[in-house]
Symmetry: C2
Protein backbone atom coordinates (compact mmCIF):
# COMPACT_ATOMS: atom_id res chain seq x y z
CA UNK A 1 0.00 0.00 0.00
CA UNK A 2 2.08 2.92 -1.23
CA UNK A 3 -0.82 5.31 -0.50
CA UNK A 4 -0.86 4.23 3.13
CA UNK A 5 2.89 4.79 3.55
CA UNK A 6 2.54 8.21 1.99
CA UNK A 7 -0.35 9.04 4.29
CA UNK A 8 1.40 7.93 7.45
CA UNK A 9 4.48 9.93 6.59
CA UNK A 10 2.44 13.12 6.50
CA UNK A 11 0.28 12.18 9.48
CA UNK A 12 1.04 14.13 12.63
CA UNK A 13 -0.74 12.72 15.63
CA UNK A 14 0.73 15.44 17.83
CA UNK A 15 -1.41 18.17 16.34
CA UNK A 16 -4.16 17.37 18.86
CA UNK A 17 -3.62 17.69 22.58
CA UNK A 18 -2.82 14.37 24.23
CA UNK A 19 -3.40 12.95 27.71
CA UNK A 20 -1.08 10.97 29.93
CA UNK A 21 -2.26 7.47 30.80
CA UNK A 22 -1.60 5.91 34.18
CA UNK A 23 -2.19 2.46 35.66
CA UNK A 24 -3.53 2.54 39.23
CA UNK A 25 -3.62 -0.79 40.99
CA UNK A 26 -5.69 -1.94 43.93
CA UNK A 27 -3.61 -4.87 45.28
CA UNK A 28 -5.35 -6.97 47.88
CA UNK A 29 -4.01 -9.69 50.10
CA UNK A 30 -5.47 -11.56 53.07
CA UNK A 31 -3.25 -11.53 56.16
CA UNK A 32 -3.36 -13.89 59.12
CA UNK A 33 -4.25 -12.23 62.41
CA UNK A 34 -2.78 -14.44 65.18
CA UNK A 35 -4.88 -15.32 68.23
CA UNK A 36 -3.24 -15.50 71.69
CA UNK A 37 -5.17 -18.62 72.69
CA UNK A 38 -2.98 -21.46 71.40
CA UNK A 39 -6.02 -23.52 70.63
CA UNK A 40 -7.96 -20.91 68.67
CA UNK A 41 -7.49 -20.40 64.97
CA UNK A 42 -5.92 -17.30 63.47
CA UNK A 43 -8.32 -14.74 62.11
CA UNK A 44 -7.98 -13.19 58.66
CA UNK A 45 -8.11 -9.63 57.37
CA UNK A 46 -8.39 -8.23 53.88
CA UNK A 47 -5.55 -5.76 53.27
CA UNK A 48 -4.85 -3.18 50.57
CA UNK A 49 -1.47 -1.76 49.57
CA UNK A 50 -1.19 2.02 49.63
CA UNK A 51 1.77 4.32 49.12
CA UNK A 52 2.50 7.55 50.94
CA UNK A 53 3.06 10.33 48.43
CA UNK A 54 6.40 12.07 48.90
CA UNK A 55 5.65 15.08 46.74
CA UNK A 56 2.74 17.21 45.56
CA UNK A 57 0.03 16.96 44.56
CA UNK A 58 -1.54 15.25 47.60
CA UNK A 59 1.79 15.18 49.43
CA UNK A 60 1.59 12.90 52.52
CA UNK A 61 -1.72 11.45 51.36
CA UNK A 62 -1.86 7.75 50.53
CA UNK A 63 -2.41 6.65 46.94
CA UNK A 64 -2.76 3.38 45.07
CA UNK A 65 0.51 2.08 43.63
CA UNK A 66 0.82 2.88 39.96
CA UNK A 67 2.58 4.93 37.35
CA UNK A 68 2.53 6.28 33.85
CA UNK A 69 2.37 4.08 30.78
CA UNK A 70 5.47 4.12 28.60
CA UNK A 71 5.47 3.86 24.87
CA UNK A 72 6.10 0.29 23.66
CA UNK A 73 4.40 -1.44 26.57
CA UNK A 74 0.76 -2.28 27.23
CA UNK A 75 -0.93 -0.58 30.15
CA UNK A 76 -1.33 -4.07 31.66
CA UNK A 77 2.43 -4.23 31.55
CA UNK A 78 2.76 -0.86 33.23
CA UNK A 79 0.68 -2.26 36.07
CA UNK A 80 2.76 -5.44 36.38
CA UNK A 81 6.00 -3.47 36.25
CA UNK A 82 4.94 -1.03 38.97
CA UNK A 83 3.57 -3.87 41.04
CA UNK A 84 6.80 -5.81 40.92
CA UNK A 85 8.70 -2.74 42.07
CA UNK A 86 6.43 -2.43 45.10
CA UNK A 87 5.85 -6.03 46.12
CA UNK A 88 8.65 -8.02 44.42
CA UNK A 89 5.99 -10.52 43.41
CA UNK A 90 5.80 -11.83 39.88
CA UNK A 91 2.98 -13.85 38.33
CA UNK A 92 0.49 -11.78 40.20
CA UNK A 93 -3.21 -12.03 39.43
CA UNK A 94 -4.25 -8.91 37.52
CA UNK A 95 -7.44 -7.79 35.86
CA UNK A 96 -8.75 -4.52 34.50
CA UNK A 97 -11.31 -2.38 36.24
CA UNK A 98 -12.83 0.67 34.61
CA UNK A 99 -10.89 3.48 32.98
CA UNK A 100 -11.47 6.84 34.71
CA UNK A 101 -11.12 10.16 32.93
CA UNK A 102 -13.18 12.77 34.78
CA UNK A 103 -11.76 16.17 33.83
CA UNK A 104 -9.86 17.69 36.74
CA UNK A 105 -9.29 14.36 38.51
CA UNK A 106 -5.56 15.11 38.66
CA UNK A 107 -4.36 18.70 39.21
CA UNK A 108 -1.24 18.03 37.13
CA UNK A 109 -3.30 18.00 33.96
CA UNK A 110 -5.11 15.63 31.64
CA UNK A 111 -4.44 12.20 33.09
CA UNK A 112 -6.52 9.16 32.29
CA UNK A 113 -6.33 6.29 34.75
CA UNK A 114 -6.72 2.58 33.96
CA UNK A 115 -7.78 0.91 37.20
CA UNK A 116 -6.58 -2.60 38.02
CA UNK A 117 -7.48 -5.25 40.55
CA UNK A 118 -4.57 -7.40 41.72
CA UNK A 119 -4.68 -10.30 44.17
CA UNK A 120 -1.69 -11.81 45.98
CA UNK A 121 -1.36 -14.73 48.33
CA UNK A 122 0.26 -13.17 51.42
CA UNK A 123 2.62 -16.14 51.92
CA UNK A 124 4.35 -15.09 48.69
CA UNK A 125 5.07 -11.59 49.97
CA UNK A 126 8.56 -11.13 51.38
CA UNK A 127 8.39 -9.94 54.98
CA UNK A 128 9.83 -6.57 54.18
CA UNK A 129 7.73 -5.53 51.23
CA UNK A 130 5.23 -2.90 52.20
CA UNK A 131 6.46 -3.09 55.77
CA UNK A 132 9.95 -1.57 55.76
CA UNK A 133 11.06 2.02 56.02
CA UNK A 134 9.67 2.62 52.52
CA UNK A 135 6.36 4.37 52.15
CA UNK A 136 4.32 1.38 51.06
CA UNK A 137 1.94 0.04 53.71
CA UNK A 138 -0.71 -2.63 53.95
CA UNK A 139 -4.01 -1.23 55.26
CA UNK A 140 -6.74 -3.36 56.79
CA UNK A 141 -9.89 -2.84 54.75
CA UNK A 142 -13.32 -2.13 56.16
CA UNK A 143 -16.17 -1.83 53.66
CA UNK A 144 -19.43 -1.82 55.59
CA UNK A 145 -22.84 -1.25 54.13
CA UNK A 146 -24.53 1.58 55.98
CA UNK A 147 -27.85 1.96 54.25
CA UNK A 148 -29.87 1.22 51.16
CA UNK A 149 -32.46 3.56 49.76
CA UNK A 150 -34.80 2.42 47.05
CA UNK A 151 -36.41 5.15 44.96
CA UNK A 152 -38.64 5.09 41.91
CA UNK A 153 -36.02 4.28 39.29
CA UNK A 154 -32.84 3.98 41.29
CA UNK A 155 -31.30 2.34 44.29
CA UNK A 156 -28.64 4.05 46.39
CA UNK A 157 -26.44 1.94 48.63
CA UNK A 158 -24.08 3.71 51.00
CA UNK A 159 -20.87 2.18 52.25
CA UNK A 160 -18.18 3.33 54.66
CA UNK A 161 -14.69 2.62 53.40
CA UNK A 162 -12.05 2.47 56.16
CA UNK A 163 -8.37 1.72 55.74
CA UNK A 164 -6.32 1.18 58.87
CA UNK A 165 -2.59 0.81 59.36
CA UNK A 166 -1.59 1.56 62.96
CA UNK A 167 -1.74 5.33 63.34
CA UNK A 168 -2.86 5.86 59.78
CA UNK A 169 -6.60 5.84 59.31
CA UNK A 170 -7.98 6.66 55.89
CA UNK A 171 -11.66 6.77 55.04
CA UNK A 172 -14.33 7.75 52.55
CA UNK A 173 -18.10 7.61 52.11
CA UNK A 174 -19.06 5.57 49.10
CA UNK A 175 -22.34 5.72 47.24
CA UNK A 176 -23.23 3.02 44.78
CA UNK A 177 -26.04 3.92 42.42
CA UNK A 178 -27.98 1.48 40.30
CA UNK A 179 -30.45 3.22 38.04
CA UNK A 180 -32.80 2.03 35.39
CA UNK A 181 -33.44 4.34 32.48
CA UNK A 182 -35.08 3.68 29.14
CA UNK A 183 -31.80 2.38 27.83
CA UNK A 184 -31.06 -0.12 30.58
CA UNK A 185 -29.37 -0.73 33.88
CA UNK A 186 -26.65 1.76 34.77
CA UNK A 187 -24.17 1.34 37.57
CA UNK A 188 -21.99 4.02 39.15
CA UNK A 189 -19.81 4.52 42.21
CA UNK A 190 -18.88 7.84 43.80
CA UNK A 191 -16.73 8.77 46.79
CA UNK A 192 -17.25 11.71 49.13
CA UNK A 193 -15.38 13.00 52.20
CA UNK A 194 -12.27 11.19 51.14
CA UNK A 195 -9.89 11.48 54.11
CA UNK A 196 -6.20 10.90 53.56
CA UNK A 197 -6.74 9.19 50.19
CA UNK A 198 -5.18 10.93 47.19
CA UNK A 199 -6.92 11.84 43.90
CA UNK A 200 -10.11 9.88 43.14
CA UNK A 201 -8.52 6.70 44.43
CA UNK A 202 -11.26 6.07 47.02
CA UNK A 203 -13.60 5.58 44.09
CA UNK A 204 -11.25 3.17 42.37
CA UNK A 205 -10.88 1.22 45.63
CA UNK A 206 -14.65 0.95 46.02
CA UNK A 207 -14.87 -0.22 42.44
CA UNK A 208 -12.15 -2.80 43.09
CA UNK A 209 -13.92 -4.13 46.19
CA UNK A 210 -17.17 -4.52 44.30
CA UNK A 211 -15.37 -6.33 41.50
CA UNK A 212 -13.51 -8.51 43.99
CA UNK A 213 -16.83 -9.58 45.49
CA UNK A 214 -18.27 -10.30 42.08
CA UNK A 215 -15.24 -12.33 41.10
CA UNK A 216 -15.37 -14.20 44.40
CA UNK A 217 -18.92 -15.31 43.69
CA UNK A 218 -18.60 -16.06 39.99
CA UNK A 219 -14.92 -16.74 39.30
CA UNK A 220 -13.42 -18.15 42.49
CA UNK A 221 -11.19 -15.13 43.18
CA UNK A 222 -10.71 -16.28 46.79
CA UNK A 223 -8.29 -18.94 45.54
CA UNK A 224 -5.94 -16.24 44.24
CA UNK A 225 -5.54 -15.05 47.83
CA UNK A 226 -4.50 -18.50 49.11
CA UNK A 227 -1.38 -20.65 48.67
CA UNK A 228 -1.51 -23.71 46.44
CA UNK A 229 -2.60 -25.94 49.34
CA UNK A 230 -5.16 -24.77 51.87
CA UNK A 231 -7.69 -26.06 54.34
CA UNK A 232 -11.42 -25.68 53.82
CA UNK A 233 -11.47 -23.38 56.83
CA UNK A 234 -8.83 -21.14 55.21
CA UNK A 235 -10.95 -20.93 52.10
CA UNK A 236 -14.07 -20.19 54.09
CA UNK A 237 -12.34 -17.51 56.17
CA UNK A 238 -11.05 -15.77 53.05
CA UNK A 239 -14.49 -15.97 51.47
CA UNK A 240 -16.14 -14.55 54.58
CA UNK A 241 -13.58 -11.75 54.93
CA UNK A 242 -14.07 -10.63 51.35
CA UNK A 243 -17.84 -10.89 51.31
CA UNK A 244 -18.36 -9.69 54.88
CA UNK A 245 -20.79 -12.52 55.60
CA UNK A 246 -20.89 -15.65 57.74
CA UNK A 247 -21.49 -18.96 55.99
CA UNK A 248 -22.56 -22.27 57.48
CA UNK A 249 -19.61 -24.71 57.44
CA UNK A 250 -21.48 -27.65 55.99
CA UNK A 251 -23.15 -25.66 53.24
CA UNK A 252 -19.95 -23.85 52.33
CA UNK A 253 -18.05 -27.11 51.94
CA UNK A 254 -20.76 -28.48 49.70
CA UNK A 255 -20.84 -25.33 47.59
CA UNK A 256 -17.06 -25.46 47.08
CA UNK A 257 -16.73 -29.22 46.70
CA UNK A 258 -16.67 -29.03 42.91
CA UNK A 259 -13.84 -26.49 42.83
CA UNK A 260 -11.39 -28.27 45.12
CA UNK A 261 -9.44 -31.49 45.10
CA UNK A 262 -8.26 -33.40 48.15
CA UNK A 263 -4.49 -33.84 48.58
CA UNK A 264 -2.71 -36.47 50.70
CA UNK A 265 -1.43 -33.95 53.19
CA UNK A 266 -2.93 -32.73 56.41
CA UNK A 267 -2.25 -29.85 58.74
CA UNK A 268 -2.04 -30.73 62.45
CA UNK A 269 -0.30 -29.72 65.66
CA UNK A 270 -3.04 -27.50 67.05
CA UNK A 271 -5.17 -28.58 69.98
CA UNK A 272 -7.86 -30.08 67.77
CA UNK A 273 -8.58 -32.43 64.93
CA UNK A 274 -6.12 -31.86 62.06
CA UNK A 275 -7.52 -30.63 58.78
CA UNK A 276 -7.13 -32.02 55.30
CA UNK A 277 -5.35 -29.92 52.70
CA UNK A 278 -6.98 -29.20 49.37
CA UNK A 279 -5.93 -27.63 46.11
CA UNK A 280 -7.94 -26.15 43.26
CA UNK A 281 -9.67 -28.47 40.83
CA UNK A 282 -8.21 -27.14 37.61
CA UNK A 283 -10.81 -28.75 35.37
CA UNK A 284 -13.62 -27.04 37.24
CA UNK A 285 -11.96 -23.63 36.96
CA UNK A 286 -11.46 -23.93 33.22
CA UNK A 287 -15.16 -24.61 32.81
CA UNK A 288 -16.66 -21.86 34.94
Amino acid sequence: MPDEKEFLKSYNIKKYEQPSVAADIAVFTVKNIPDENYRKLDGKKLCLLMIRRGKPPFQDYFALPGGFAKKDETVDNTALRELFEETSVENIYLSQLKTTSTPGRDPRGWIISCGYLALVDSTRLSVKSGDDAADARWFEVGFTRLSCEQLENEKLTRYRLELINGENRLSADITEKISLGASGREYSVTAENSKGIAFDHAEIIACALTELRRKTIYEGAAFSLLPECFTMTDLQQVYETIMDVKESDANFRRKMSGFVQLTDETQGGMGHRPSKLYKRNIEAFLNI
Copy 2:
Protein backbone atom coordinates in the same frame (compact mmCIF):
# COMPACT_ATOMS: atom_id res chain seq x y z
CA MET B 1 -1.21 24.60 49.94
CA PRO B 2 1.29 27.09 48.58
CA ASP B 3 3.84 24.25 48.08
CA GLU B 4 1.43 22.43 45.84
CA LYS B 5 0.72 25.51 43.72
CA GLU B 6 4.44 26.09 43.41
CA PHE B 7 4.99 22.48 42.39
CA LEU B 8 2.24 22.43 39.79
CA LYS B 9 3.52 25.61 38.23
CA SER B 10 6.88 23.99 37.56
CA TYR B 11 5.41 20.61 36.61
CA ASN B 12 5.61 19.85 32.94
CA ILE B 13 3.64 16.77 32.02
CA LYS B 14 4.71 17.09 28.41
CA LYS B 15 8.29 16.07 29.08
CA TYR B 16 7.31 12.41 28.68
CA GLU B 17 5.90 11.08 25.44
CA GLN B 18 2.12 10.81 25.47
CA PRO B 19 -0.38 8.57 23.73
CA SER B 20 -3.65 9.41 22.04
CA VAL B 21 -6.74 7.82 23.58
CA ALA B 22 -9.66 6.67 21.46
CA ALA B 23 -13.11 5.29 22.24
CA ASP B 24 -14.15 2.37 20.01
CA ILE B 25 -17.74 1.32 20.31
CA ALA B 26 -19.40 -1.98 19.45
CA VAL B 27 -23.06 -0.96 18.99
CA PHE B 28 -25.47 -3.82 18.72
CA THR B 29 -29.11 -3.87 17.79
CA VAL B 30 -31.56 -6.65 17.01
CA LYS B 31 -33.41 -6.24 13.72
CA ASN B 32 -36.66 -7.86 12.63
CA ILE B 33 -36.33 -10.19 9.66
CA PRO B 34 -39.78 -10.35 8.01
CA ASP B 35 -41.24 -13.70 6.95
CA GLU B 36 -43.27 -13.93 3.70
CA ASN B 37 -45.86 -16.27 5.23
CA TYR B 38 -48.44 -13.87 6.69
CA ARG B 39 -49.06 -16.22 9.58
CA LYS B 40 -45.47 -16.83 10.60
CA LEU B 41 -43.61 -14.59 12.99
CA ASP B 42 -40.74 -12.38 12.00
CA GLY B 43 -37.28 -13.68 12.78
CA LYS B 44 -34.60 -11.64 14.54
CA LYS B 45 -30.92 -10.98 13.84
CA LEU B 46 -28.20 -9.47 15.97
CA CYS B 47 -26.56 -6.59 14.08
CA LEU B 48 -23.41 -4.56 14.60
CA LEU B 49 -22.68 -1.07 13.30
CA MET B 50 -19.47 -0.70 11.28
CA ILE B 51 -18.07 2.23 9.33
CA ARG B 52 -16.19 2.12 6.05
CA ARG B 53 -12.91 3.94 6.40
CA GLY B 54 -12.48 6.68 3.84
CA LYS B 55 -8.77 7.21 4.31
CA PRO B 56 -5.64 5.35 5.37
CA PRO B 57 -4.72 3.46 7.38
CA PHE B 58 -7.02 0.54 6.52
CA GLN B 59 -8.74 2.52 3.78
CA ASP B 60 -11.93 0.75 2.59
CA TYR B 61 -11.82 -1.63 5.55
CA PHE B 62 -14.67 -1.50 8.06
CA ALA B 63 -14.01 -0.25 11.58
CA LEU B 64 -16.00 0.24 14.78
CA PRO B 65 -17.43 3.72 15.19
CA GLY B 66 -15.32 5.83 17.51
CA GLY B 67 -12.94 8.71 17.78
CA PHE B 68 -10.32 10.44 19.85
CA ALA B 69 -10.94 11.71 23.36
CA LYS B 70 -10.86 15.47 23.74
CA LYS B 71 -9.56 17.28 26.74
CA ASP B 72 -12.35 18.27 29.17
CA GLU B 73 -14.58 15.31 28.46
CA THR B 74 -14.59 11.78 29.85
CA VAL B 75 -13.85 8.95 27.45
CA ASP B 76 -17.39 7.70 28.18
CA ASN B 77 -18.51 11.02 26.80
CA THR B 78 -16.36 10.65 23.72
CA ALA B 79 -18.17 7.37 23.08
CA LEU B 80 -21.64 8.91 23.54
CA ARG B 81 -20.74 11.87 21.35
CA GLU B 82 -19.43 9.73 18.49
CA LEU B 83 -22.39 7.41 18.84
CA PHE B 84 -24.91 10.21 18.57
CA GLU B 85 -23.22 11.42 15.40
CA GLU B 86 -23.56 7.97 13.83
CA THR B 87 -26.97 6.81 15.05
CA SER B 88 -28.75 10.01 16.20
CA VAL B 89 -29.81 8.08 19.28
CA GLU B 90 -29.46 9.58 22.73
CA ASN B 91 -29.82 7.80 26.08
CA ILE B 92 -28.11 4.80 24.60
CA TYR B 93 -27.00 1.95 26.83
CA LEU B 94 -23.22 2.11 27.20
CA SER B 95 -20.70 0.17 29.26
CA GLN B 96 -16.94 -0.15 29.24
CA LEU B 97 -15.08 -3.14 27.89
CA LYS B 98 -11.35 -3.55 28.28
CA THR B 99 -8.76 -0.93 27.35
CA THR B 100 -6.37 -2.13 24.63
CA SER B 101 -2.85 -0.82 24.23
CA THR B 102 -0.78 -3.41 22.36
CA PRO B 103 2.20 -1.58 20.85
CA GLY B 104 1.80 -1.29 17.09
CA ARG B 105 -1.97 -1.80 17.13
CA ASP B 106 -2.39 1.40 15.12
CA PRO B 107 0.17 2.33 12.44
CA ARG B 108 -0.39 6.03 13.09
CA GLY B 109 1.43 5.77 16.40
CA TRP B 110 0.81 5.26 20.08
CA ILE B 111 -2.96 5.00 20.36
CA ILE B 112 -4.73 3.45 23.32
CA SER B 113 -8.28 2.28 22.76
CA CYS B 114 -11.08 2.16 25.33
CA GLY B 115 -13.57 -0.40 24.10
CA TYR B 116 -17.30 0.10 24.69
CA LEU B 117 -20.40 -2.02 24.41
CA ALA B 118 -23.55 -0.16 23.36
CA LEU B 119 -27.05 -1.56 22.93
CA VAL B 120 -29.92 0.08 21.05
CA ASP B 121 -33.51 -0.90 20.55
CA SER B 122 -33.85 -0.94 16.76
CA THR B 123 -37.27 0.75 16.85
CA ARG B 124 -35.53 3.88 18.13
CA LEU B 125 -33.19 4.04 15.14
CA SER B 126 -34.30 6.43 12.43
CA VAL B 127 -34.66 4.61 9.14
CA LYS B 128 -31.81 6.43 7.53
CA SER B 129 -29.12 6.01 10.16
CA GLY B 130 -26.58 3.45 9.11
CA ASP B 131 -28.56 2.88 5.97
CA ASP B 132 -28.16 5.98 3.84
CA ALA B 133 -25.43 6.94 1.41
CA ALA B 134 -23.07 7.39 4.37
CA ASP B 135 -20.51 4.75 5.11
CA ALA B 136 -22.13 3.38 8.25
CA ARG B 137 -23.73 -0.06 7.82
CA TRP B 138 -25.44 -2.60 10.04
CA PHE B 139 -23.85 -6.04 9.70
CA GLU B 140 -25.60 -9.26 10.67
CA VAL B 141 -23.45 -10.97 13.26
CA GLY B 142 -22.47 -14.64 13.23
CA PHE B 143 -20.43 -15.88 16.17
CA THR B 144 -20.31 -19.65 16.01
CA ARG B 145 -18.29 -21.91 18.27
CA LEU B 146 -16.11 -24.14 16.13
CA SER B 147 -14.15 -26.20 18.65
CA CYS B 148 -13.00 -26.46 22.22
CA GLU B 149 -9.67 -27.94 23.21
CA GLN B 150 -8.94 -28.71 26.84
CA LEU B 151 -5.27 -28.96 27.75
CA GLU B 152 -3.48 -29.41 31.07
CA ASN B 153 -3.83 -25.88 32.39
CA GLU B 154 -5.76 -24.11 29.69
CA LYS B 155 -8.83 -24.28 27.55
CA LEU B 156 -8.93 -22.94 24.00
CA THR B 157 -12.27 -22.20 22.41
CA ARG B 158 -12.35 -21.23 18.77
CA TYR B 159 -15.07 -19.11 17.22
CA ARG B 160 -15.79 -17.90 13.73
CA LEU B 161 -16.84 -14.27 13.60
CA GLU B 162 -18.80 -13.32 10.48
CA LEU B 163 -20.29 -9.95 9.65
CA ILE B 164 -22.60 -9.73 6.67
CA ASN B 165 -24.13 -6.72 4.94
CA GLY B 166 -25.23 -7.58 1.41
CA GLU B 167 -22.08 -7.74 -0.69
CA ASN B 168 -19.84 -6.96 2.26
CA ARG B 169 -18.64 -9.99 4.18
CA LEU B 170 -16.16 -9.49 6.96
CA SER B 171 -14.71 -12.26 9.08
CA ALA B 172 -12.11 -13.32 11.61
CA ASP B 173 -11.01 -16.40 13.54
CA ILE B 174 -11.32 -15.84 17.26
CA THR B 175 -9.53 -17.80 19.97
CA GLU B 176 -10.64 -17.48 23.54
CA LYS B 177 -8.13 -18.73 26.05
CA ILE B 178 -8.86 -19.49 29.69
CA SER B 179 -5.74 -20.46 31.58
CA LEU B 180 -5.06 -21.27 35.19
CA GLY B 181 -1.67 -20.30 36.56
CA ALA B 182 -0.44 -20.13 40.13
CA SER B 183 -1.93 -16.67 40.41
CA GLY B 184 -5.42 -17.45 39.21
CA ARG B 185 -7.78 -17.64 36.30
CA GLU B 186 -6.72 -15.61 33.26
CA TYR B 187 -8.89 -14.84 30.29
CA SER B 188 -7.80 -13.59 26.88
CA VAL B 189 -9.21 -13.18 23.38
CA THR B 190 -7.22 -13.00 20.16
CA ALA B 191 -8.23 -12.56 16.52
CA GLU B 192 -6.49 -14.02 13.49
CA ASN B 193 -7.10 -13.85 9.74
CA SER B 194 -9.09 -10.71 10.17
CA LYS B 195 -10.69 -10.08 6.75
CA GLY B 196 -11.97 -6.60 5.97
CA ILE B 197 -11.95 -5.50 9.62
CA ALA B 198 -9.63 -2.59 10.45
CA PHE B 199 -7.04 -2.47 13.26
CA ASP B 200 -7.56 -4.96 16.08
CA HIS B 201 -11.29 -4.33 16.00
CA ALA B 202 -12.13 -8.00 15.44
CA GLU B 203 -10.75 -8.64 18.89
CA ILE B 204 -12.80 -5.85 20.44
CA ILE B 205 -15.92 -7.20 18.71
CA ALA B 206 -15.28 -10.70 20.09
CA CYS B 207 -14.79 -9.19 23.51
CA ALA B 208 -18.03 -7.24 23.16
CA LEU B 209 -19.98 -10.35 22.13
CA THR B 210 -18.69 -12.28 25.11
CA GLU B 211 -19.59 -9.42 27.43
CA LEU B 212 -23.01 -9.09 25.80
CA ARG B 213 -23.67 -12.77 26.52
CA ARG B 214 -22.50 -12.40 30.10
CA LYS B 215 -24.70 -9.35 30.61
CA THR B 216 -27.63 -11.15 29.04
CA ILE B 217 -27.36 -13.94 31.58
CA TYR B 218 -26.58 -11.89 34.67
CA GLU B 219 -27.88 -8.38 34.03
CA GLY B 220 -30.82 -8.68 31.66
CA ALA B 221 -29.07 -6.97 28.74
CA ALA B 222 -31.69 -8.35 26.33
CA PHE B 223 -34.17 -5.75 27.60
CA SER B 224 -31.91 -2.94 26.31
CA LEU B 225 -32.46 -4.30 22.81
CA LEU B 226 -36.25 -4.17 23.08
CA PRO B 227 -38.80 -1.32 23.19
CA GLU B 228 -40.52 -0.46 26.46
CA CYS B 229 -43.35 -2.91 25.76
CA PHE B 230 -42.69 -6.33 24.29
CA THR B 231 -44.13 -9.80 24.04
CA MET B 232 -42.57 -12.79 25.78
CA THR B 233 -41.79 -14.21 22.36
CA ASP B 234 -39.88 -11.02 21.43
CA LEU B 235 -37.84 -11.34 24.60
CA GLN B 236 -37.17 -15.01 23.97
CA GLN B 237 -36.16 -14.40 20.36
CA VAL B 238 -33.72 -11.67 21.38
CA TYR B 239 -32.30 -13.91 24.10
CA GLU B 240 -31.90 -16.82 21.69
CA THR B 241 -30.31 -14.64 19.00
CA ILE B 242 -27.73 -13.28 21.41
CA MET B 243 -26.92 -16.56 23.11
CA ASP B 244 -27.20 -18.70 19.98
CA VAL B 245 -29.29 -21.28 21.81
CA LYS B 246 -32.87 -22.56 21.73
CA GLU B 247 -34.89 -22.36 24.95
CA SER B 248 -38.09 -24.14 25.89
CA ASP B 249 -41.00 -21.67 25.89
CA ALA B 250 -42.44 -22.69 29.23
CA ASN B 251 -39.12 -22.70 31.05
CA PHE B 252 -38.05 -19.41 29.55
CA ARG B 253 -41.25 -17.71 30.67
CA ARG B 254 -40.82 -19.03 34.16
CA LYS B 255 -37.18 -17.92 34.27
CA MET B 256 -38.11 -14.39 33.18
CA SER B 257 -41.31 -14.07 35.18
CA GLY B 258 -39.60 -12.15 37.98
CA PHE B 259 -38.14 -9.55 35.64
CA VAL B 260 -41.27 -8.61 33.74
CA GLN B 261 -44.60 -7.03 34.53
CA LEU B 262 -47.82 -7.56 32.63
CA THR B 263 -49.43 -4.51 30.98
CA ASP B 264 -53.05 -4.11 29.89
CA GLU B 265 -52.20 -4.10 26.22
CA THR B 266 -52.06 -6.93 23.75
CA GLN B 267 -50.71 -7.34 20.27
CA GLY B 268 -53.04 -9.05 17.78
CA GLY B 269 -54.02 -9.08 14.15
CA MET B 270 -51.87 -12.01 13.04
CA GLY B 271 -53.42 -15.35 12.21
CA HIS B 272 -53.07 -16.69 15.75
CA ARG B 273 -53.76 -16.02 19.40
CA PRO B 274 -52.76 -12.44 20.31
CA SER B 275 -49.97 -11.99 22.80
CA LYS B 276 -49.87 -10.02 25.99
CA LEU B 277 -47.46 -7.11 26.24
CA TYR B 278 -45.03 -6.88 29.12
CA LYS B 279 -42.60 -4.30 30.44
CA ARG B 280 -39.59 -4.61 32.72
CA ASN B 281 -40.16 -5.03 36.44
CA ILE B 282 -38.07 -2.11 37.67
CA GLU B 283 -37.86 -3.36 41.25
CA ALA B 284 -36.37 -6.66 40.12
CA PHE B 285 -33.73 -4.92 38.00
CA LEU B 286 -32.60 -2.69 40.82
CA ASN B 287 -32.01 -5.74 42.97
CA ILE B 288 -30.08 -7.97 40.61
